[in-house]
Amino acid sequence: MTDRPEGIPESEADRPAREFRRYVTGGVLSLALTLAAFGAVALRLVAGQGALVVLGLLALAQIVVQFRYFLHIDLQKSHRDDLQLILFTALIVGLMVGGTIWILFDQHTRM
Protein backbone atom coordinates (compact mmCIF):
# COMPACT_ATOMS: atom_id res chain seq x y z
CA MET A 1 0.00 0.00 0.00
CA THR A 2 2.73 2.46 -0.91
CA ASP A 3 1.57 4.09 -4.15
CA ARG A 4 -1.01 6.81 -3.76
CA PRO A 5 -3.47 8.69 -5.97
CA GLU A 6 -2.80 12.15 -7.35
CA GLY A 7 -3.59 15.21 -5.29
CA ILE A 8 -2.45 14.00 -1.88
CA PRO A 9 0.10 16.18 -0.08
CA GLU A 10 3.49 14.63 0.59
CA SER A 11 2.89 14.75 4.36
CA GLU A 12 -0.04 12.38 3.86
CA ALA A 13 2.10 9.90 1.98
CA ASP A 14 2.42 7.40 4.81
CA ARG A 15 -1.30 7.42 5.61
CA PRO A 16 -2.16 4.34 3.49
CA ALA A 17 0.58 2.32 5.19
CA ARG A 18 -0.60 3.51 8.61
CA GLU A 19 -4.22 2.58 7.91
CA PHE A 20 -3.10 -0.80 6.57
CA ARG A 21 -1.12 -1.47 9.77
CA ARG A 22 -4.21 -0.49 11.76
CA TYR A 23 -6.28 -3.29 10.19
CA VAL A 24 -3.39 -5.76 10.61
CA THR A 25 -3.04 -4.82 14.30
CA GLY A 26 -6.77 -5.30 14.81
CA GLY A 27 -6.73 -8.64 13.00
CA VAL A 28 -3.73 -9.98 14.95
CA LEU A 29 -5.11 -8.85 18.34
CA SER A 30 -8.55 -10.33 17.56
CA LEU A 31 -6.97 -13.61 16.48
CA ALA A 32 -4.85 -13.77 19.65
CA LEU A 33 -7.89 -13.07 21.90
CA THR A 34 -9.98 -15.65 20.00
CA LEU A 35 -7.31 -18.35 20.33
CA ALA A 36 -6.82 -17.49 24.04
CA ALA A 37 -10.57 -17.96 24.67
CA PHE A 38 -10.81 -21.24 22.72
CA GLY A 39 -7.52 -22.46 24.25
CA ALA A 40 -8.72 -21.78 27.80
CA VAL A 41 -11.83 -23.92 27.17
CA ALA A 42 -10.15 -26.66 25.11
CA LEU A 43 -7.38 -27.11 27.70
CA ARG A 44 -9.92 -27.01 30.56
CA LEU A 45 -8.17 -24.07 32.25
CA VAL A 46 -11.51 -22.51 33.24
CA ALA A 47 -14.77 -23.90 34.60
CA GLY A 48 -18.12 -22.80 36.02
CA GLN A 49 -18.69 -19.21 37.13
CA GLY A 50 -14.97 -18.37 36.83
CA ALA A 51 -15.16 -19.29 33.14
CA LEU A 52 -17.97 -16.76 32.68
CA VAL A 53 -15.75 -13.99 34.07
CA VAL A 54 -12.59 -14.95 32.12
CA LEU A 55 -14.40 -15.56 28.82
CA GLY A 56 -16.51 -12.42 29.32
CA LEU A 57 -13.39 -10.28 29.80
CA LEU A 58 -11.70 -11.80 26.73
CA ALA A 59 -14.84 -11.10 24.68
CA LEU A 60 -15.05 -7.52 26.00
CA ALA A 61 -11.39 -6.97 25.10
CA GLN A 62 -11.96 -8.26 21.57
CA ILE A 63 -15.07 -6.08 21.17
CA VAL A 64 -13.04 -3.03 22.18
CA VAL A 65 -10.23 -4.04 19.76
CA GLN A 66 -12.64 -4.39 16.85
CA PHE A 67 -14.42 -1.11 17.64
CA ARG A 68 -11.02 0.59 17.80
CA TYR A 69 -9.20 -0.94 14.82
CA PHE A 70 -11.99 -2.01 12.42
CA LEU A 71 -14.69 0.59 13.13
CA HIS A 72 -12.27 3.41 13.99
CA ILE A 73 -14.06 4.47 17.16
CA ASP A 74 -11.78 6.33 19.57
CA LEU A 75 -11.80 9.16 22.08
CA GLN A 76 -11.15 12.01 19.62
CA LYS A 77 -13.40 15.05 19.92
CA SER A 78 -14.67 14.72 16.34
CA HIS A 79 -15.92 11.24 17.22
CA ARG A 80 -17.87 12.14 20.33
CA ASP A 81 -21.34 11.85 18.70
CA ASP A 82 -20.65 8.29 17.64
CA LEU A 83 -19.08 7.43 20.97
CA GLN A 84 -22.02 8.92 22.90
CA LEU A 85 -24.41 6.87 20.77
CA ILE A 86 -22.42 3.72 21.61
CA LEU A 87 -22.31 4.55 25.32
CA PHE A 88 -26.07 5.31 25.38
CA THR A 89 -26.73 2.00 23.58
CA ALA A 90 -24.49 0.26 26.12
CA LEU A 91 -26.58 1.82 28.92
CA ILE A 92 -29.87 0.65 27.34
CA VAL A 93 -28.39 -2.81 26.72
CA GLY A 94 -27.11 -2.99 30.29
CA LEU A 95 -30.50 -2.01 31.75
CA MET A 96 -32.48 -4.40 29.56
CA VAL A 97 -30.13 -7.39 29.70
CA GLY A 98 -29.26 -6.93 33.38
CA GLY A 99 -32.90 -6.27 34.29
CA THR A 100 -34.19 -9.25 32.32
CA ILE A 101 -31.69 -11.65 33.86
CA TRP A 102 -32.17 -10.25 37.37
CA ILE A 103 -35.98 -10.42 37.30
CA LEU A 104 -36.31 -13.78 35.56
CA PHE A 105 -33.71 -15.52 37.75
CA ASP A 106 -35.40 -14.03 40.84
CA GLN A 107 -38.79 -15.25 39.59
CA HIS A 108 -37.32 -18.71 39.05
CA THR A 109 -36.06 -18.98 42.64
CA ARG A 110 -39.58 -18.10 43.86
CA MET A 111 -41.30 -20.82 41.84
Binding site: M1, G26, T34, A51, Q66, K77, H79, V97, T100
Partner: protein, 210 residues
Protein backbone atom coordinates in the same frame (compact mmCIF):
# COMPACT_ATOMS: atom_id res chain seq x y z
CA UNK B 1 -4.28 9.41 13.08
CA UNK B 2 -4.74 13.16 12.81
CA UNK B 3 -8.18 13.84 14.19
CA UNK B 4 -9.48 16.78 12.19
CA UNK B 5 -10.64 14.82 9.14
CA UNK B 6 -12.12 11.83 10.96
CA UNK B 7 -15.85 12.40 10.87
CA UNK B 8 -17.65 9.09 11.23
CA UNK B 9 -17.16 5.43 12.22
CA UNK B 10 -15.29 3.22 9.78
CA UNK B 11 -12.70 4.19 7.24
CA UNK B 12 -12.96 7.88 6.26
CA UNK B 13 -12.44 8.87 2.62
CA UNK B 14 -10.58 12.01 3.73
CA UNK B 15 -8.64 13.81 1.03
CA UNK B 16 -8.81 10.98 -1.52
CA UNK B 17 -12.41 12.09 -2.21
CA UNK B 18 -13.16 15.34 -0.39
CA UNK B 19 -16.72 15.65 -1.72
CA UNK B 20 -17.54 12.08 -0.80
CA UNK B 21 -15.98 12.65 2.60
CA UNK B 22 -18.39 15.54 3.24
CA UNK B 23 -21.38 13.54 2.04
CA UNK B 24 -20.42 10.53 4.16
CA UNK B 25 -20.74 12.23 7.55
CA UNK B 26 -24.53 12.37 7.59
CA UNK B 27 -25.41 9.06 5.93
CA UNK B 28 -22.86 7.10 7.94
CA UNK B 29 -24.11 8.57 11.22
CA UNK B 30 -27.66 7.63 10.22
CA UNK B 31 -26.54 4.09 9.48
CA UNK B 32 -24.68 4.03 12.81
CA UNK B 33 -28.00 4.75 14.58
CA UNK B 34 -29.54 1.74 12.80
CA UNK B 35 -26.58 -0.45 13.80
CA UNK B 36 -26.95 0.54 17.45
CA UNK B 37 -30.68 -0.33 17.37
CA UNK B 38 -29.66 -3.68 15.89
CA UNK B 39 -27.30 -4.14 18.84
CA UNK B 40 -30.26 -3.66 21.21
CA UNK B 41 -32.14 -6.40 19.32
CA UNK B 42 -29.22 -8.82 19.68
CA UNK B 43 -28.76 -7.88 23.35
CA UNK B 44 -32.36 -8.86 24.09
CA UNK B 45 -31.85 -12.18 22.29
CA UNK B 46 -28.73 -12.76 24.44
CA UNK B 47 -30.75 -12.00 27.61
CA UNK B 48 -33.47 -14.44 26.48
CA UNK B 49 -30.79 -17.05 25.79
CA UNK B 50 -29.15 -16.53 29.20
CA UNK B 51 -32.50 -17.15 30.95
CA UNK B 52 -33.72 -20.01 28.76
CA UNK B 53 -30.41 -21.90 28.63
CA UNK B 54 -30.45 -22.05 32.45
CA UNK B 55 -34.10 -22.65 33.31
CA UNK B 56 -35.71 -23.68 30.04
CA UNK B 57 -34.10 -26.99 29.14
CA UNK B 58 -37.28 -28.97 29.93
CA UNK B 59 -35.29 -32.19 30.39
CA UNK B 60 -34.01 -32.02 26.81
CA UNK B 61 -30.52 -31.29 25.44
CA UNK B 62 -28.27 -28.94 27.47
CA UNK B 63 -25.95 -26.26 25.98
CA UNK B 64 -23.03 -28.71 26.19
CA UNK B 65 -24.81 -31.16 23.87
CA UNK B 66 -24.78 -28.65 21.01
CA UNK B 67 -21.14 -27.56 21.34
CA UNK B 68 -18.60 -28.64 18.74
CA UNK B 69 -15.51 -26.57 19.57
CA UNK B 70 -13.74 -27.28 16.27
CA UNK B 71 -16.78 -26.21 14.30
CA UNK B 72 -17.21 -23.03 16.40
CA UNK B 73 -13.50 -22.14 15.97
CA UNK B 74 -13.67 -22.64 12.19
CA UNK B 75 -16.75 -20.39 11.94
CA UNK B 76 -15.06 -17.78 14.14
CA UNK B 77 -11.90 -17.72 11.99
CA UNK B 78 -13.98 -17.52 8.79
CA UNK B 79 -15.94 -14.51 10.03
CA UNK B 80 -12.91 -12.77 11.57
CA UNK B 81 -11.00 -13.37 8.33
CA UNK B 82 -13.85 -11.90 6.28
CA UNK B 83 -13.97 -8.84 8.57
CA UNK B 84 -10.23 -8.31 7.89
CA UNK B 85 -10.57 -8.81 4.12
CA UNK B 86 -13.42 -6.27 4.08
CA UNK B 87 -10.99 -3.87 5.77
CA UNK B 88 -8.59 -4.49 2.87
CA UNK B 89 -11.46 -3.81 0.44
CA UNK B 90 -12.15 -0.50 2.24
CA UNK B 91 -8.48 0.49 1.83
CA UNK B 92 -8.61 -0.43 -1.88
CA UNK B 93 -11.77 1.70 -2.21
CA UNK B 94 -10.01 4.65 -0.63
CA UNK B 95 -6.56 4.52 -2.21
CA UNK B 96 -6.74 2.52 -5.44
CA UNK B 97 -7.89 4.17 -8.63
CA UNK B 98 -8.89 0.94 -10.34
CA UNK B 99 -11.61 -1.50 -9.34
CA UNK B 100 -9.67 -4.77 -9.69
CA UNK B 101 -8.20 -4.92 -6.19
CA UNK B 102 -11.44 -3.76 -4.54
CA UNK B 103 -13.51 -6.38 -6.36
CA UNK B 104 -10.94 -9.10 -5.59
CA UNK B 105 -11.03 -8.36 -1.81
CA UNK B 106 -14.85 -8.15 -1.91
CA UNK B 107 -15.00 -11.50 -3.71
CA UNK B 108 -12.77 -13.09 -1.04
CA UNK B 109 -14.95 -11.57 1.68
CA UNK B 110 -18.04 -12.95 -0.03
CA UNK B 111 -16.56 -16.45 -0.26
CA UNK B 112 -15.55 -16.45 3.45
CA UNK B 113 -19.02 -15.20 4.43
CA UNK B 114 -20.76 -17.76 2.22
CA UNK B 115 -18.69 -20.64 3.68
CA UNK B 116 -19.58 -19.32 7.17
CA UNK B 117 -23.32 -19.41 6.41
CA UNK B 118 -22.98 -22.86 4.81
CA UNK B 119 -21.15 -24.13 7.91
CA UNK B 120 -23.93 -22.76 10.15
CA UNK B 121 -26.57 -24.51 8.05
CA UNK B 122 -24.55 -27.72 8.41
CA UNK B 123 -24.46 -27.18 12.21
CA UNK B 124 -28.25 -26.85 12.30
CA UNK B 125 -28.59 -30.02 10.23
CA UNK B 126 -26.38 -31.93 12.69
CA UNK B 127 -28.26 -30.58 15.74
CA UNK B 128 -31.64 -31.54 14.36
CA UNK B 129 -30.83 -34.92 12.77
CA UNK B 130 -28.07 -36.33 15.04
CA UNK B 131 -28.58 -34.57 18.39
CA UNK B 132 -32.39 -34.75 18.27
CA UNK B 133 -32.52 -31.06 19.20
CA UNK B 134 -35.14 -29.30 17.05
CA UNK B 135 -36.15 -25.73 18.06
CA UNK B 136 -39.62 -26.77 19.32
CA UNK B 137 -38.23 -29.22 21.90
CA UNK B 138 -37.53 -26.71 24.70
CA UNK B 139 -37.38 -23.02 25.54
CA UNK B 140 -33.61 -23.27 25.57
CA UNK B 141 -33.48 -24.66 22.03
CA UNK B 142 -35.96 -22.04 20.77
CA UNK B 143 -33.75 -19.28 22.20
CA UNK B 144 -30.60 -20.96 20.85
CA UNK B 145 -31.90 -21.15 17.28
CA UNK B 146 -33.45 -17.67 17.46
CA UNK B 147 -30.11 -16.09 18.49
CA UNK B 148 -27.84 -17.99 16.07
CA UNK B 149 -30.25 -17.82 13.13
CA UNK B 150 -30.88 -14.08 13.56
CA UNK B 151 -27.12 -13.59 13.27
CA UNK B 152 -26.92 -16.02 10.33
CA UNK B 153 -29.74 -14.20 8.53
CA UNK B 154 -27.90 -10.90 9.05
CA UNK B 155 -24.77 -12.41 7.45
CA UNK B 156 -26.85 -13.81 4.56
CA UNK B 157 -28.43 -10.36 4.07
CA UNK B 158 -24.92 -8.86 4.07
CA UNK B 159 -23.91 -11.32 1.32
CA UNK B 160 -26.94 -10.33 -0.78
CA UNK B 161 -26.10 -6.66 -0.22
CA UNK B 162 -22.49 -7.33 -1.27
CA UNK B 163 -23.63 -9.02 -4.49
CA UNK B 164 -25.93 -6.09 -5.32
CA UNK B 165 -23.09 -3.61 -4.75
CA UNK B 166 -20.74 -5.71 -6.92
CA UNK B 167 -23.28 -5.42 -9.75
CA UNK B 168 -23.52 -1.66 -9.11
CA UNK B 169 -19.71 -1.32 -9.26
CA UNK B 170 -19.76 -3.00 -12.67
CA UNK B 171 -22.78 -1.04 -13.88
CA UNK B 172 -22.16 2.49 -12.59
CA UNK B 173 -18.45 2.37 -11.76
CA UNK B 174 -17.17 3.76 -8.47
CA UNK B 175 -19.48 6.76 -8.31
CA UNK B 176 -20.03 8.50 -4.97
CA UNK B 177 -23.33 6.77 -4.14
CA UNK B 178 -21.75 3.34 -4.63
CA UNK B 179 -18.76 4.30 -2.47
CA UNK B 180 -21.03 5.46 0.37
CA UNK B 181 -23.05 2.23 0.16
CA UNK B 182 -19.86 0.17 0.38
CA UNK B 183 -18.74 2.15 3.45
CA UNK B 184 -22.03 1.41 5.19
CA UNK B 185 -21.86 -2.28 4.25
CA UNK B 186 -18.34 -2.34 5.75
CA UNK B 187 -19.73 -1.07 9.09
CA UNK B 188 -22.55 -3.65 8.94
CA UNK B 189 -20.06 -6.45 8.25
CA UNK B 190 -17.62 -5.47 11.02
CA UNK B 191 -20.57 -5.18 13.44
CA UNK B 192 -21.74 -8.73 12.62
CA UNK B 193 -18.30 -10.03 13.60
CA UNK B 194 -18.65 -8.18 16.91
CA UNK B 195 -22.03 -9.86 17.53
CA UNK B 196 -20.41 -13.21 16.72
CA UNK B 197 -17.83 -12.60 19.49
CA UNK B 198 -20.77 -12.67 21.92
CA UNK B 199 -22.21 -15.82 20.33
CA UNK B 200 -19.03 -17.90 20.29
CA UNK B 201 -18.19 -16.76 23.83
CA UNK B 202 -21.52 -17.23 25.62
CA UNK B 203 -23.23 -19.90 23.49
CA UNK B 204 -20.34 -22.17 22.52
CA UNK B 205 -17.36 -21.60 24.85
CA UNK B 206 -19.37 -20.99 28.04
CA UNK B 207 -21.76 -23.74 26.92
CA UNK B 208 -18.84 -26.17 26.92
CA UNK B 209 -17.73 -25.46 30.51
CA UNK B 210 -20.82 -24.30 32.45
Amino acid sequence: MSGADTRHPGLNLGQTDAGGHDAAEEVVFGFWVFLMSDMVLFAILFATYATMSTHGQAGGPAPLDLVDLGSALAETLLLLGSSFTFGMASLALKYREGRTRLVAWLALTFVLGAVFVGWEVHDVHVWITQDDAPPQRSGFLSAHYLLTATHGLHVAAGLLWMAVIAVQIGWFGLIREVKLRLMRLALFWHMLDIVWIGIFTFVFLYGAVR
